[in-house]
Amino acid sequence: MKPEILWHLLEITIIIALLIPIAATLVWVERRMIGIWQDRHGPNRVGPFGILQSLADLLKILGKEDWIPPFSDRLVFTIAPVIGAVCVLMSFAVIPFTPDIGVSNLNIGLLFFLAMASLSVYSVVLAGWASNSKYAMLGGMRAAAQTVSYEVFMGLSVMGVVLLTGTFNLREIVLAQTDGWLIQSQFIGFFVFLIAGIAESHRLPFDLPEAETELTAGFHTEYSGLKFALFFLGEYLSVTLISAMSVVLFFGGWLMPAPLDTWLPPLVWFILKILFFVFFFILLRTSLPRPRFDQLLAFGWKIMLPVALVNLLLTAALRLGGIL
C-alpha cells in the first residue's frame, strides 16, 4: 500500500515538473514558428537557436514588481490566476500517456476533464471582475459568455465518442481504438471539439477576452509579475491539454497502426501526435483574423450547436442500425 502511494506521488511530481518547462518552451516554439512563417527570425539570441529565451523571460518576470492595484479586490485578484493554472494541471491527471503512465484511471475521466474545463472559466471571469477596471471587466464578460456557450457543444461533440466506446474512462477509450481510430467515424465531432477547444483555451482566432487591439490586454490588463506568468502558463498548458485530449479521444492516444507501432515507443508516438496539434494551434494563430464578438456567439449557437447535435443523432442512429 505504502510504496504504491509513494510511486503515485512521484509520478505526479514528474508529470508536473515536465509539463511546466514544456509550456515555457512552447512560448519560444510559438515565437520562432511565427517568425519563420512571417519571414523573419524571431528570438534567436539566447542559447542555441534561442531556446533559452523562455528562461530569460522567466527570470525577468520573477524580478518584476508584483503589483496589486489598490482599487482591486485583493483576495479574488490573487486567487484568480491560481484557479486557472490548477484547473488545467488537474485535467492532466486523467490523461493516459502510455499503457503504464497516467496519474489516475478515473472511471469518469472524460467528465472530469469537462468539469475542470468549465471551472477554469472562473479564473478569467474573476480576474476581470477583481481588477475593477473597464477593459478587464469587458474581457471577463466576454470570457464568461464565450466559455459557457462553447462548453455546451464541447460536451456534445465528445458524446459521440462515449456512444461508440461505451465508457467515460479515457484509458478504455484509447484501448477501444485498437482496431481503428475514432476519427474515421467521428470527424464532425472532432472538428467541433477542436473549435470548442480553441475557444476554451482563448487562443486566436477566439482570443476575444484578451483582444489586444480593442481591450489592451483584456482580463489580465492589471496583472504583472508572477501572476501574469501564471495566466500565460495556463494558456500554454491548455493548448497542450486540448491537443492531448484530441489525440486521446479521436487519434488513438499512444496507439499506432501495425507496421508503425514497433518503430517508436508509445510515449514518443503520443508526444509526436500532441506536437502535431500544438503546431496546428500555432499556425491558426498566424493565419486567421479575429471575428467580432457577436459573430463568435452567433457562430457557436447557430452553426456549431446544430452540427454537434446532428453528429450525435447520426452516430446514435448508425450505432442502433449496427453499422458503426
Binding site: V76, L111, A115, Y122, M141
Partner: protein, 175 residues
C-alpha cells in the same frame, strides 16, 4: 476497515466544508464573494456524491452547477455591477425574529439528515454501492422516463419564454 473509516472521514470533512461555505454564502456582505463560497459549497457536495459511490452525479454537479449555472450568476452580477456599494445599501434584516422560521425548517432538515446518515443499515448501503453512468442512464430512460419528459417540457417552456422576452420590440436594422 481502516479504508472505510478514512472514506467516512473524508465524507464528513467535505460535508463540513459544504456547511461552512453555505453559511458564508448567506452571511457575507460581498455578492461575488458569496457566489464564490457557493461554488465551494457545490464542489464539496460533489465530493460527497463521489465518496457515496455516485461519480456520475458528482461530475454533473461540477459541470452543470459549479461550471455553468454559477458562471451565469457571476456574469449577471458583473453585468449589473452589484458590488460592495449595492450590498451596503441593501435593506438589513431586523433582529432574529425574521431568521426564526427558516432556521426552524433548516433544523428539521438537519435532524432528518442526521437520522438518515446515522441509520447503520443505510450507511452500509451508501458506502458499498457504486452507481455508474450506465445505470443512471438506464434508470432515467426506464422507470423515470416520465419525470425526464416533464423536466424537458418545463425547460422548453422556459426557453420559449426567454426567447419571447429577449426579442427586440422594434425590429431595427442589423448592425
Amino acid at each position: 476497515m481502516s479504508l472505510f473509516a478514512s472514506i467516512e472521514g473524508l465524507f464528513y470533512l467535505a460535508a463540513l466544508i459544504a456547511v461552512i461555505a453555505s453559511l458564508k454564502v448567506v452571511t457575507g456582505k460581498n455578492t461575488v464573494h458569496a457566489l464564490l463560497y457557493l461554488v465551494i459549497s457545490l464542489l464539496a457536495v460533489a465530493v460527497c456524491f463521489y465518496l457515496m459511490g455516485a461519480p456520475f452525479a458528482a461530475g454533473l454537479e461540477v459541470i452543470v452547477y459549479a461550471g455553468a449555472i454559477l458562471v451565469l450568476f457571476v456574469f449577471a452580477v458583473m453585468m449589473f455591477g452589484l458590488g460592495v456599494d449595492e450590498t451596503m445599501h441593501a435593506p438589513q434584516s431586523k433582529g432574529l425574529s425574521l431568521w426564526f422560521g427558516p432556521m426552524l425548517l433548516a433544523a428539521l432538515l438537519l435532524i432528518e439528515l442526521v437520522f438518515v446518515i446515522d441509520n447503520s443499515e443505510l450507511k452500509l448501503q451508501l458506502s458499498n454501492k457504486m452507481v455508474d453512468a450506465k445505470q443512471v442512464g438506464i434508470l432515467l430512460y426506464g422507470p423515470y422516463l416520465l419525470a425526464v419528459e416533464i423536466a424537458s417540457f418545463l425547460l422548453l417552456a422556459g426557453l420559449v419564454a426567454g426567447y419571447h422576452y429577449a426579442k427586440p420590440e422594434h425590429q431595427g436594422r442589423r448592425l
